[in-house]
Structure formats: structure tokens, C-alpha cells
């Protein structure tokens, strides 16, 4: 066994093993649990760093385990998977710190952190998946691992949310399963291949392939919250804030979006997908989702629900970038995977802080909150500007590339969509900023907790500030080496441009 085999396995194990141990820990072993969590997260980051270095220098990481006589579980680190793996492992560390602070003193923490670790394991696994069946396995594992997190609070509302979440995701998983098996019966392989593995298939199967594409996108679109499959996402807001942060920024919606990238680029291949004529409709679905999500967000008073609809809209950018089927747009879409993650996680951390510290859940309660919690709201502001796409925050980069990409492919009308979306983003986010910074508090906070001179606990404050800074940094330094943008361009060069 050499490094190229054990490194991917270790990356998986670094969250799986702590997770399993944490399940078995008694509730009161707080220190041990925290240590395990943080060590796992740090170790994973270190391992991923090593792997990044290796892949950049042409090292090939691959593990295979036979599942069925002709089908294997394949873990492979290519440049694209590393993009997602890195995002996951960095944000996992941050979210873990946040969750430790957020859940302090609440019950069932062993269960929570156990599933939390499983969730990250699943995310990393599907990022590293080297074929569709491996992807499917981790995709379903992700469903199973996030369900308990959504249900964590144990209230009637969370039961309802869990039920709805399951309905959507299990159905999505079933569609994916059928599509994958069908594909397998036609192609005889499921291995992710740059430019896809389907162009050799007999023309008579093309209609079937179109259906398969639709099924795949539908299965993945559930998690990616493409309209009309987004219904579970706003409901899932009842979960604790770190969970929402994780779901929205890293794990679930990104798994869907990442899957769409894989399907379009590594299963069908851009050219073949264009030939089949399936990318055009996908662009339209993505565009509709972008506008629809923003419109719905406008009318939400509940802060987390507003953020949720914003996610619906923002994640569709990734799909859009992929579906436009040009290299520049691809860069925009893929880099948004990272950028949206950083920005959205910041926003959710902040929303969690408001709820945890002041009991604020609604936009209408946020008057003057900027003065009470300046650091939190500063981070929030960075996130908001990113979302709107204002330079120099990361969101601007994504939108720029998307727009350029659309023009490149003669899809100029998409500029209008992007512009409309930005306007809507501004419309639903700026009033929040205005209220927070420029209005007087309208009364006492709903449920204030006292943290002495600090505005809130350290573990709650640091994560949003860090992610906000990161979001700012990747925007400012976009052209430096090893930024997400640079890496995405590296990905696109290596894999998509013939």
C-alpha cells in the first residue's frame, strides 16, 4: 500500500472514526468529545492539504474496492473533487467550533456530533467518488446522516421538517438509482471520465439517454434545491443553526450541485450533452430557480427562511454555470461552489448568533442590532455584499465569470437574469442592513443572554468573522495562486478544455 491509496481512505476515516467513537461516548464526556471533534477536523485539513499539494504536482490518488463483480467503489482525488473536499474540510472545522459553542449545555450532543461527523464523511466521500455508484452511496449516506440533524430539536416542527426532507430526498435518491442503473445497462461503466463516457453509444439510445439525464438531474436537483424540487429547504430551517449552515453551505445543497457538475462534465460530457440538447433546458431551469428563489426570499420575515430562499437562488448559479456549457461560465459556476459556501455559512452563523444571543428570529426584530453585536453584523454585512455581487467580495467574481461565460456562448439574456437576481438580492438584504445599522432598537431583545463585555461567546463569534474574512480574501486575492479561482481554472484547464 502506498500513499496514493491510503491518503483518500484516511481523509474519509478522519471524520468517520471520530464520529463512530462519539456515538458511543456518554453525554458528559464533553472534553473528550470536543478534542475528538477538533482533532478530526484538523487532521482532515492537514490530509487534504497534503493531497492538494500532491494533485497539483500530478500525483494520482485512487482506491478501489469491488462491490459487485463488475462494479467498484472508487475513491479518486482529481482536481475537481479536491475543490469540494477542501471546502468541506475547512468549513467543517469552522462549523465544528461554532457548533461546540452553539450547543453548549444542550442535550443529546453525542448524537449530534456523531451524525455531524458522518455528514462530513458523506460529503467528502461523494466529493472523492470516482464513479456514479460510489457517488450514489455517499449521496444516500448523506441523506441518512442529515436527517437526524434536522430532527435534532425534537419538536413537532422538526418532525414535520424531517418528514418533508425525507420525502424529497428519498424520492430523489430513488430517481438517481433508477437513472444510474439504466445508464449502466446502456454503457456498461459508471466511471467518471473527463468529457464523459457516453459519446460512443449507439444513436438509438439517445432518447433513453435524454430521459436518464432528466432523471439524474431531478435526483440531484432535489438536494440542489432546483425549482420545483426545493420545497424541503425552507422547512429544514427548524434545525439548529450549525446544521443549517452545514446544509446550505457545504453538505446537502452542494452535494446536489456537485453532482450536477459531475453528470454534465464527467458522465455525459459537455459536448455530448449539448448534442443531446439537454443543456438548454437546464439553463432555463437554473434561471427560473435563480429568479424564483430571490422573489420568494423578498417576502420572508423569518431570517433563516429568507436565507434559505436565498440559497435556492444562489446554488442555481452553479447549475447555471455548468449548463451554459462554456469554459468561462464553468469557471464561474464552479468557483461559486466555494464562494457561495463561504458567504452563506457566514450569514447563517450570524443568524444563529442573533437567535442564540438575543433571541432574534425575524427580520422585523433586527432594528439596531448592529450596535449590540457589531462584529457579528460586520460579518453579516460582508456576506450580504458578497451575495449581491458587489466587488470586492467573492460573489462578484462568480457573477463576473458567469456573465462573461454567458456572453461567450451567445446567451446574452442571462445577463438580465443575473442583473435581476442581484437587484432582488439587494432588495431583500439591504433593508436588513439598514435596520441593523441605522435604526434604533424598538424595545428589549426577545431573549437576551449576557456574555459580559463580549457581544457573544467566542466560539460563536470567531467562525463568522473568519469565514467573512475568507470570503473577502478570496475575492480580493482572486488572481493569486491557490485561491479557489486559480484552482478552478486549473480544474477547467486540466479536465474540460480539450
Amino acid at each position: 500500500m502506498n500513499e496514493s491509496v491510503w491518503l483518500p481512505l484516511l481523509v474519509i476515516a478522519s471524520s468517520l472514526i471520530p464520529g463512530v467513537i462519539i456515538f458511543a461516548l456518554a453525554e458528559r464526556r464533553v472534553k473528550l468529545r470536543t478534542t475528538l471533534n477538533l482533532c478530526g477536523a484538523l487532521l482532515k485539513m492537514a490530509l487534504v492539504g497534503a493531497m492538494l499539494w500532491g494533485v497539483y504536482h500530478g500525483q494520482h490518488y485512487e482506491v478501489r474496492l469491488a462491490l459487485l463483480p463488475q462494479l467498484e467503489l472508487v475513491l479518486r482525488a482529481d482536481a475537481l473533487s479536491l475543490l469540494f473536499v477542501t471546502l468541506s474540510s475547512v468549513l467543517w472545522l469552522v462549523t465544528t467550533v461554532y457548533a461546540i459553542g452553539y450547543l453548549e449545555g444542550s442535550p443529546n450532543r453525542s448524537r449530534f456530533f456523531g451524525f455531524f461527523s458522518l455528514c462530513v464523511t458523506a460529503t467528502v466521500g461523494l466529493a472523492l467518488a470516482g464513479n456514479l455508484i460510489t457517488f450514489l452511496i455517499f449521496y444516500e449516506l448523506l441523506t441518512l446522516a442529515t436527517y437526524p440533524l434536522i430532527m435534532h430539536r425534537g419538536t413537532e416542527a422538526s418532525r414535520r421538517a424531517g418528514k418533508i426532507y425525507l420525502r424529497y430526498t428519498m424520492a430523489g435518491g430513488a430517481l438517481l438509482l433508477v437513472a444510474i442503473i439504466w445508464l449502466y445497462t446502456l454503457s456498461g461503466t459508471l466511471e467518471f471520465t473527463p468529457q464523459g463516457f457516453l459519446d460512443g453509444i449507439d444513436e438509438q439510445h439517445h432518447p433513453a439517454l435524454i430521459i436518464i439525464f432528466v432523471l439524474l438531474i431531478a435526483g440531484l436537483g432535489v438536494k440542489a434545491a432546483l425549482v420545483p424540487l426545493h420545497g424541503w429547504l425552507p422547512e429544514a430551517m427548524v434545525a439548529p443553526a450549525p446544521v443549517s449552515a452545514l446544509l446550505h453551505a457545504v453538505a446537502v445543497v452542494k452535494a446536489g450541485a456537485f453532482g450536477i457538475i459531475r453528470v454534465v462534465y464527467d458522465v455525459f460530457g459537455v459536448d455530448f450533452a449539448t448534442l443531446l440538447g439537454v443543456t438548454g433546458p437546464l439553463v432555463i431551469v437554473a434561471a427560473i430557480t435563480i429568479v424564483y428563489g430571490s422573489l420568494r426570499a423578498l417576502f420572508q420575515d423569518d431570517l433563516k427562511r429568507r436565507l434559505a430562499y436565498s440559497t435556492v437562488s444562489q446554488v442555481a448559479y452553479i447549475t447555471l454555470g455548468v449548463a451554459i456549457a462554456g469554459p468561462i461560465a464553468a469557471v464561474g459556476g464552479m468557483v461559486h461552489l466555494v464562494h457561495q459556501g463561504l458567504m452563506k455559512i457566514t450569514l447563517f452563523f450570524c443568524a444563529g448568533n442573533l437567535a442564540e444571543t438575543l433571541g432574534i428570529h425575524k427580520v422585523s426584530e433586527m432594528n439596531g442590532v448592529g450596535r449590540r453585536m457589531p462584529w457579528t453584523m460586520a460579518a453579516f454585512t460582508v456576506g450580504v455584499f458578497g451575495m449581491i455581487g458587489a466587488p470586492p467580495v467573492a460573489g462578484f467574481i462568480s457573477k463576473w465569470y458567469l456573465g462573461m461565460g454567458a456572453l461567450e456562448m451567445d446567451q446574452g439574456w442571462l445577463i438580465l437574469v443575473l442583473a435581476a437576481s442581484s437587484l432582488l438580492n439587494a432588495a431583500y438584504f439591504l433593508p436588513i442592513l439598514y435596520a441593523a445599522w441605522f435604526c434604533e432598537p424598538s424595545g428589549p431583545w426577545p431573549e437576551e443572554r449576557n456574555f459580559g463585555r463580549k457581544e457573544t461567546a467566542w466560539a460563536l463569534l470567531l467562525p463568522p468573522v473568519v469565514t467573512a474574512l475568507l470570503a473577502l480574501a478570496v475575492g480580493l486575492l482572486a488572481l493569486a495562486p491557490f485561491t479557489p479561482l486559480a484552482w478552478v481554472e486549473f480544474v477547467v484547464q486540466r479536465e474540460f478544455v480539450p
Binding site: 452511496i137 437526524p148 430532527m151 424531517g162 425525507l166
Partner: protein
């Protein structure tokens, strides 16, 4: 010292539990020790048998030195081995569980019955003689009935009676078929029958009779009417046993007969079986979803899961050995998962004093190990990866889609979704807050771990398929050569 390769493992698998049962019967004080030791020895014997099969291929033994057709032939191939291994795996867990479950008075009856049942199952899986199979079937049936009724109680007694009538009817119908086949072909040996069989009215009649009898015992829709009552009302380890092993035993015979005797006869029959299987999946899952009692839910889930085994029949002609591999795998993983579920359900029932699903929350939260067992087993039942159930369903779906049986494929997928609905209906309670605090009952560790280990095994099966398929190919039970 006999070299271990010459130890007659096959025969020992039958004789050992028989001798142990006699010992337990005569000296009840030794019952628990004998039971546990025998179970361990059986595990060893299955290991030895597997090793022997792998080295020497097909196992054939003429009992009494009389060659067939006069004598009785023992016959072991990969499929038999799989069934034996399944029996031992589930058996280990049940033994561990039962050690703490029964009181002294019940244990006195349980252990000899359980050992006789093990002997009967092993004998059944190693027999290639259709009359001998009748006797083993009766042994299995009567032992099971006695076990269902072991703890008494109205539901259990009613369930046992219903089961007894069904199983006797099934065996008699089967025997009538045996009579016809014997008269026509002058042998009751499966290998010889396979050589001699032709397409005549007798074969059709025998297929109808033996098939009906066995399907009744397997509880294929619409012959499942007896199953929910019996499986739900029995003591927990017995429920596990019934759902995990017993329906599989009669299915195994049916599959054998189908493979060697009847498959050439009927595409239409196969299609009928497939349709019945499909209806079973939908009906069973739907009923499971409607139940308000946990054990009934699990029992109806068995009705549905049996359906999956039959969906394969219309696909088999074109799909070949790999499909049967999938069916066998589904059988194995269902056995482990369902046993785990029933054992876990038994713990919840024991702890809470009831099994009303809507009031389970407290019990579910106090017994995390049992709940985890239930959930993990549920994953395999749903056919969600990674699990043994996923591998089995993948192969079935692959065949269905490849051959364009869209209806069957759709039913399988819908069945999986319904399964997730009824399983999460239960698992959901693990996360809700509850106010009631009944006096906690303590559940022995062994009983919780028996369930969990089985469930984990059913998940791990998701990674062992190629290895199991290689063993399954010994003796080429499904025809068409090794994969």
C-alpha cells in the same frame, strides 16, 4: 486425529444439534450451556464445510451408503452454503438473545426446540431428496409453532394455531406433488429427477401442488394471510427466527425445485410469480405503513420483502446466474436485517411494556443501541446503500431495466420508498421529545448487542458481495457457469 479436511462437516451440521437437543431434553439444567456450545460448534462446522466446499467443490453424500434412487442423497453447493451460513449468523444472535430472554420454565422447552429447529434447517439445506425435504419441512413447521406459542397469551396462541394450520396444509399439498413425481419418475432425488423430467401433465400438476404448498409457507401474496399474526405475536427471538429463516427455508426449496425442475416449463408461471411478488411488495409495504403496532409493522415488511424475491422469476431466463446471486444476497441481507429488527423491536417492547408506535419515544430514546440496530437494519431493508439489501436490489433492478420490465422496476423502487416511509415512521420517534417517563426496565446487554451486531452485519454485507458470489458459485447452483 482425523485431518480436518476429512471431518464430515456436512453430516455434523445435522447430527450435532440433534444430539444436543436430546441432551437438553433429558437434562434441562444443561440446556443453556449445551445450546450456546452447540451454536458455537455449528459456526465452526459451517466454516469447515465452507472450506471443504471450496477445496473439493460440490458436496454429495449417500446416506447409509445407498446410492440414489434407493437411498437419500445429501447435497451441498454454494446456495446451500449461503443458507447454512445465514442460519448460523442469525442463530448466533438468537442464541445470544434468548440466553437472557426466557425464564427458566420457558428455557426448558426453548432450547431443545431451538436445537431441533436448527438441525431441521441444516438438514433441509443439505437435502436433495424431495421426500426428506417434506420431513424437514414438517420438523421446521412444528418446532416453529411450538416456539410461537411458547410464551402463551391470546395473540400468540391464535397466531400459532393459524400458522400450524397453514404449515400443515402447505406440507400436505407439497407431499401430494411428491407422490405424483415419484410415481412418474421413480425417484425422489432431485438430481435424478432433473435428468428424467420431461414436459407432461404430471410435472405441471406437481409444480402447481408443490409450488402452492411452498408458497403458502413462504407467505407470498395472497397466501400471506397467516404471517402477520404469527410473526407479530411470537416472542421476539422467535419472530426473528420466523421472518429471517423460516420463510427462507421454504423459499429455498421452491427455488431449488424451480431451478432444476420447473424453470424450463414456464415463462408464464414465472411472470405470474413476478406479478404476485410485485403486488406483495406494494401490499405489504402499504400495510406496514398503516400499522400502529411495531411488531405488526415489521411483520408486514416481511410480506413486502418476500415479494422482492419473486420479482426475480420473470427476469431470470434472460439474466442468468447473476440475478439469482442477487436474489440470494437479498435473502441473506433480509434475514440479518429482519432478525435485527425483530430483536430490537422485542427490546423496545420489553422496555416500554407495549409496542404502540405512537408512544414509543421514551423507550426509543432510552435504548439507543436497539434503536440504532433498528435503524441500521432499516437501511438494509430500504435497500439504501451501503447495505446488503442495496446490492440485491441493484442486481434485480439492473435486470428489470435491462429487459425492459419497467413495471417491475417501478414497483421495486416504490417499495423501497414505502419501506423508508414505514421505517422512518418508527425511527423518527428517536428524536422527538417526550414527556412520559415510565419506570425504566433494564434490558440485558446481550439482547441489545445481538440486535446491533446483526444490523451491522447486514450493512457490512454491502461490501462483501464479490466474495460471497464466489462462494455461491460452488457447484454452479444457478446454471450458466460461474460469473
Amino acid at each position: 486425529m482425523v485431518p480436518s479436511s476429512e471431518i464430515p462437516w456436512g453430516a455434523l451440521l445435522i447430527l450435532l444439534p440433534l444430539a444436543a437437543a436430546i441432551l437438553c431434553f433429558v437434562w434441562p439444567k444443561l440446556a443453556v450451556v449445551t445450546g450456546v456450545v452447540t451454536m458455537l460448534l455449528l459456526t465452526l462446522a459451517v466454516g469447515g464445510f465452507a472450506w471443504q466446499l471450496q477445496r473439493e467443490g460440490l458436496y454429495q453424500h449417500a446416506v447409509g451408503g445407498w446410492e440414489t434412487p434407493l437411498g437419500i442423497g445429501l447435497y451441498g453447493d454454494g446456495l446451500s452454503l449461503l443458507m447454512l451460513a445465514m442460519t448460523v449468523l442469525v442463530g448466533l444472535a438468537i442464541t445470544l438473545y434468548a440466553r437472557s430472554y426466557f425464564n427458566q420454565k420457558q428455557a426448558r422447552v426453548f432450547w431443545p426446540l431451538w436445537l431441533l429447529l436448527l438441525a431441521a434447517l441444516n438438514a433441509l439445506f443439505l437435502s436433495a431428496d424431495i421426500f426428506n425435504l417434506y420431513i424437514t419441512l414438517e420438523m421446521v413447521g412444528l418446532a416453529a409453532v411450538a416456539l410461537v406459542a411458547l410464551k402463551g397469551g391470546r395473540d400468540a396462541l391464535n397466531g400459532a394455531m393459524r400458522y400450524l394450520l397453514a404449515t400443515l396444509l402447505g406440507s400436505l399439498t407439497y407431499l401430494l406433488g411428491v407422490a405424483l413425481l415419484y410415481h412418474s419418475y421413480g425417484t425422489v432425488d432431485l438430481v435424478l429427477l432433473a435428468e428424467r423430467i420431461d414436459n407432461s401433465p404430471v410435472v405441471w400438476a406437481a409444480l402447481g401442488l408443490m409450488g402452492a404448498g411452498l408458497l403458502l409457507k413462504t407467505a407470498l401474496f395472497p397466501l400471506h394471510f397467516w404471517l402477520p399474526a404469527a410473526h407479530a405475536s411470537a416472542p421476539a427471538p422467535i419472530s426473528a427466527l420466523l421472518s429471517a429463516l423460516l420463510v427462507k427455508a421454504s423459499f429455498y426449496i421452491f427455488l431449488r425445485l424451480w431451478l432444476v425442475l420447473f424453470a424450463p416449463l414456464g415463462g408464464d408461471v414465472a411472470l405470474l410469480l413476478g406479478l404476485l411478488g410485485a403486488v406483495a411488495i406494494l401490499w405489504g409495504s402499504w400495510q406496514a405503513l398503516r400499522q400502529t403496532r411495531l411488531k405488526l409493522l415489521v411483520a408486514y415488511s416481511t410480506v413486502a420483502q418476500i415479494g422482492y424475491l419473486f420479482v426475480a422469476f420473470p427476469l431470470a431466463a434472460a439474466a442468468g446466474a447473476m440475478l439469482w446471486n442477487g436474489v440470494s444476497y437479498l435473502m441473506l441481507s433480509h434475514a440479518l436485517a429482519k432478525a435485527a429488527m425483530f430483536l430490537a423491536a422485542g427490546n423496545l417492547l420489553l422496555f416500554g411494556g407495549h409496542d404502540r408506535i405512537a408512544e414509543l419515544d421514551r423507550a426509543v430514546q432510552r435504548l439507543p443501541i436497539s434503536t440504532a440496530a433498528f435503524a441500521l437494519a432499516g437501511v438494509s431493508i430500504m435497500g439504501v446503500p451501503p447495505s446488503g439489501g442495496f446490492i440485491g436490489k441493484w442486481l434485480l433492478l439492473e435486470a428489470a431495466i435491462e429487459q425492459g420490465y419497467w413495471l417491475l422496476a417501478a414497483v421495486m423502487v416504490v417499495g423501497g420508498l414505502l419501506a423508508s416511509a414505514y421505517i422512518f415512521k418508527v425511527v423518527g420517534y428517536a428524536f422527538t421529545r417526550s414527556t412520559a417517563t415510565p419506570e425504566p426496565q433494564s434490558i440485558p446487554m446481550g439482547m441489545e448487542w445481538a440486535a446491533l451486531l446483526l444490523a451491522i452485519a447486514s450493512i457490512l454485507l454491502g461490501f462483501t458481495a464479490p466474495w460471497v458470489f464466489a462462494l455461491l458459485g460452488i457447484g454452479d447452483p444457478f446454471g450458466g457457469g460461474a460469473p
